[in-house]
């Protein structure tokens, strides 16, 4: 046997061996030794095949900027009062600026000093407003706004990761995307709606005092005294499960927020056998909670989550120690999720769902079954066509095709690529197109045979003449696949992957492997006529 042929046969055998090792975990994971499964992972299935959820959430970063301004306004108001600076009003305008209205230049200068000391990053401007007031504008610089937005998205991503970790989904993917978007993939998630609620809830927990002097009915009619706001308390009728809402007027100013929590857990109220969430404040929060409860005994404090009042208990006595409870006729699942959300922290800004693709596991199984059936039937038809048309040489092509499918699967597993439904279609398509290279070679060989060349020579020149044609022809499809990979997303990308892998595998099998088979067959034999 010539050295070259020996070498080529060894290459083919090695590829076969590697493929076998790579594919085995996909086919029979359970009956393999540990080291095998550790070194080769099974083919990863896309969400459309294994079932799961693909979510793109948009973070409303403008809200994060607004809430930063609101925080500065709160702090500034306190400082202005402490320093006895006389001002008419403090407000947020256009989302990104804070305006202080003062009566004269003297006070204005004091405001300027205060602000430039406290918030050097704010850009100041002065206008003379309507009615002779002086308007002091303080605007966040563009770079500061960018920072806040960027931080909001990062923070949201981090919080969502915490929530998902506590929810318990295996192998979740969370990624930041351009345009303040967050991509989340949850394979095999069983209750998609619960997952969305858990991920997307802003979970801004606030404690506000109830304004007992106000009449909620007046507020509903639109009459609100300044400094108060109208919120609704959520009630659940235990017998029917129906939700109702009761209006309640609370003082605008938040006395305490959920940022100061250190822990949250589900407990069961033994009197009513009803779950509630017990929360623990950190040292700062505990102290403040102590002060607030001490000075408000007998009043009601509303526990507000995302602008909905969960409960508004009367403060019976001063509460030291920093623990409180949120009850609100929860189901045990609601209570669990609320505790998770509170532990993981709130989102810095609300989010919206921009894209949601959820596939149930049963549909995924159907798709796999149908995809594999199409591969089998398609391959069988191609095999028949090749054998009928090219006889013995057709069998060589069939062997090449079989190896092709084997190599594609192996490469999917080795590269850690994800197999999707369009990806399966790509495999089917490759099967049809893979024989093309063999057809090109065989047709060339037939031409050479017709010219009266002997078997070996015909084979030789058939392969060499077809070679560049095959490369050129396949490059175009490969090019299209690469472009698709660049611009495609999700399942479609899977198509680009299998198509590219398929082309590479088919080039190898059709040009290299089939030649080795022919050469092995012709070795030491005087074959006059090829069966082609």
């Amino acid at each position: 046997m010539s050295n070259s042929l020996k070498f080529r046969s060894v290459v083919v055998l090695l590829c076969l061996l590697l493929s076998f090792f790579a594919i085995a975990p996909t086919l029979m994971r359970d009956s393999l030794p540990q080291w095998w499964n550790d070194s080769f992972s099974p083919i990863q299935l896309g969400l459309d095949l294994q079932g799961g959820m693909h979510l793109v959430l948009g973070v409303d970063v403008d809200k994060a900027v607004e809430s930063r301004i609101d925080t500065i306004i709160d702090q500034t108001e306190t400082e202005l009062r402490e320093k006895d600076i006389i001002f008419k009003r403090l407000e947020r305008r256009q989302g990104d600026r804070l305006v202080v209205l003062v009566y004269d230049d003297e006070e204005g200068a004091k405001v300027d000093t205060l602000m430039s000391d406290g918030y050097p990053s704010l850009e100041a401007e002065t206008f003379t407003g309507a009615g002779g007031y002086i308007e002091k504008h303080f605007r966040l610089s563009d770079s500061e706004i960018e920072n806040i937005k960027d931080y909001a998205v990062r923070q949201a991503l981090e919080t969502m990761r915490n929530r998902i970790d506590q929810f318990g989904v295996s192998e979740p993917t969370l990624q930041r995307q351009s345009g303040n978007r967050i991509l989340i993939q949850l394979p095999g998630v069983e209750d998609p709606d619960r997952a969305i609620a858990l991920l997307g809830k802003t979970a801004r927990l606030e404690f506000k005092m109830v304004d007992e002097t106000a009449n909620p009915q007046d507020a509903v009619a639109g009459k609100l005294t300044p400094g108060t706001q109208l919120l609704y308390e959520r009630n659940v009728n235990k017998a029917t499960g129906a939700e109702t809402e009761t209006p309640l007027v609370v003082v605008d100013k938040t006395v305490l927020t959920g940022d100061l929590l250190s822990d949250a857990n589900v407990r069961i109220d033994t009197r009513f056998n009803e779950p509630y969430v017990s929360i623990e404040f950190n040292a700062v929060g505990a102290k403040r909670f102590d002060q607030i409860t001490a000075s408000n005994v007998g009043k009601r404090m509303a526990i507000v989550l995302d602008d909905t009042i969960y409960s508004a208990p009367v403060i019976r006595e001063r509460i030291a120690g920093g623990s409180a409870q949120i009850s609100g006729s929860f189901t045990s699942q609601e209570a669990t999720d609320l505790a998770i959300i509170l532990r993981a922290g709130s989102l810095p800004a609300p989010v919206r769902i921009m894209e949601n693709r959820t596939v149930g596991p049963s549909l995924g199984h159907d798709s796999i079954a149908k995809g594999i059936k199409s591969i089998w039937v398609g391959a069988l038809l191609v095999v028949l066509a090749m054998v009928v048309y090219y006889q013995l040489s057709g069998i060589v092509a069939v062997v090449a095709l079989t190896l092709n499918i084997l190599f594609i699967s192996a490469m999917l597993s080795l590269f850690g690529a994800t197999l999707t439904l369009p990806g399966l279609a790509g495999v089917v398509l490759t099967i049809g197109m893979a024989v093309d290279a063999n057809v090109l070679i065989f047709e060339r060989i037939r031409e050479e045979v017709r010219l009266g060349r002997a078997a070996k020579l015909a084979l030789e020149s058939g392969y060499s003449k077809a070679f560049m044609t095959i490369i050129d022809a396949n490059m175009t499809t490969l090019l299209a696949a690469l472009v698709l990979f660049q611009f495609g997303t999700g399942p479609v990308r899977g198509f680009a992957v299998t198509l590219s892998i398929g082309i590479i595998a088919s080039l190898f099998t059709a040009i290299f492997v089939s030649r080795v088979i022919f050469d092995l067959f012709l070795k030491g034999r005087e074959v006059k006529r090829l069966s082609i």
Partner: protein, 302 residues
């Protein structure tokens, strides 16, 4: 076995006027359909909206489903049966709600009122917001554009520019006819269809290149013959391969079309049309354009 005799000599080039009429007719029919329908029929990937696939315990019909959804303000939902069974349906709504409590929950609740709890299985939900839809549409168009550009460059490099022109004309031809067929058969254009278009482009070009390669080879061999003769001869010489490869590809695409299931159905349909048209175009479009271009060049230099 041989389907095509080695000495076959069909006058393909001579029939290029007829081919031109056929191609134009196909494109025009597609165009007319597109015009009548007010542009391509975009699926939710590109138009935005919500799609819910529901499987029922018992068979039912679209009218009953629509009735049970009447209470929700969904605009005019489109309800289609999915697959062969009358117990699986697709409900498509134009709205895409960004709210956390999505439309699918509302739809499920409404259906459970009519069909009892536990008898309704939501198998798939796809919600694409308008912004994402726009992004995906841009990305899809960009993909098609860059693929064409890349191929133009590749063929110009490997062959000559005139070959590239012929190939690109053939590609436009294929994509337009497939697009027309989609409109004519009322099928929706979704993300996987863009993938199919790119695969068609790759496939059709594959075919075209085989013929071109032969033309290039034969141009050297038969330099006394006229260019149209060389082209026609090259088409004939590669005919056997063209038919066999198209045949095997059609077989697998057909398998996918019949057996692949509803989710992949439109994709397979696009491929089916694309492979047929792509094979036709590499013989009847790409090569005649090449001849046309050559004749123009000859006239200029004369």
């Amino acid at each position: 076995m041989q389907l095509i005799k080695p000495d076959i000599n069909i006058d393909f080039v001579g029939k290029r006027q007829i081919a031109l009429i056929v191609s134009l007719a196909l494109i025009l029919v597609g165009f007319a359909s597109l015009l009548l329908n007010g542009g391509p029929n975009y699926g939710i990937d590109f138009a935005g909206g919500t799609l819910v696939q529901v499987k029922f315990e018992k068979t039912t019909d679209a009218a009953t489903i629509k009735e049970s959804l009447a209470g929700l303000e969904l605009g005019s939902p489109v309800v289609q049966s999915f697959g062969d069974n009358q117990n699986e349906f697709l409900i498509r709504v134009e709205q895409a709600s960004g709210e956390l409590k999505g439309l699918s929950v509302q739809i499920q609740n409404a259906l459970e009122q009519t069909y009892e709890k536990g008898h309704v299985e939501i198998r798939r939900v796809e919600m694409v917001g308008p912004q994402v839809g726009k992004d995906l549409r841009n990305k899809g168009l960009k993909a098609l554009f860059y693929a064409m550009l890349g191929l133009l460059v590749y063929i110009s490099w490997r062959f000559e520019f005139r070959f590239a022109i012929g190939a690109i004309v053939a590609l436009f031809h294929d994509v337009m006819i497939t697009l027309g067929a989609f409109s004519l058969f009322g099928k929706e254009i979704d993300l996987p269809i863009i993938a199919a278009f790119l695969a068609i482009i790759g496939y059709s070009l594959n075919d075209t290149i085989i013929v071109y390669d032969r033309i290039r080879e034969n141009s050297g061999k038969h330099n006394k013959e006229s260019f149209p003769f060389v082209v026609n001869r090259s088409i004939n010489e590669t005919l056997s391969r063209t038919l066999l490869t198209s045949g095997t590809t059609l077989l697998v695409v057909l398998a996918l079309f019949v057996l692949g299931g509803g989710v992949i159905h439109n994709f397979a349909f696009a491929m089916l049309v694309g492979v047929l048209v792509g094979t036709y175009s590499s013989i009847f479009v790409a090569s005649p354009v090449l001849i046309f271009w050559q004749q123009k060049l000859d006239k200029k230099s004369a």
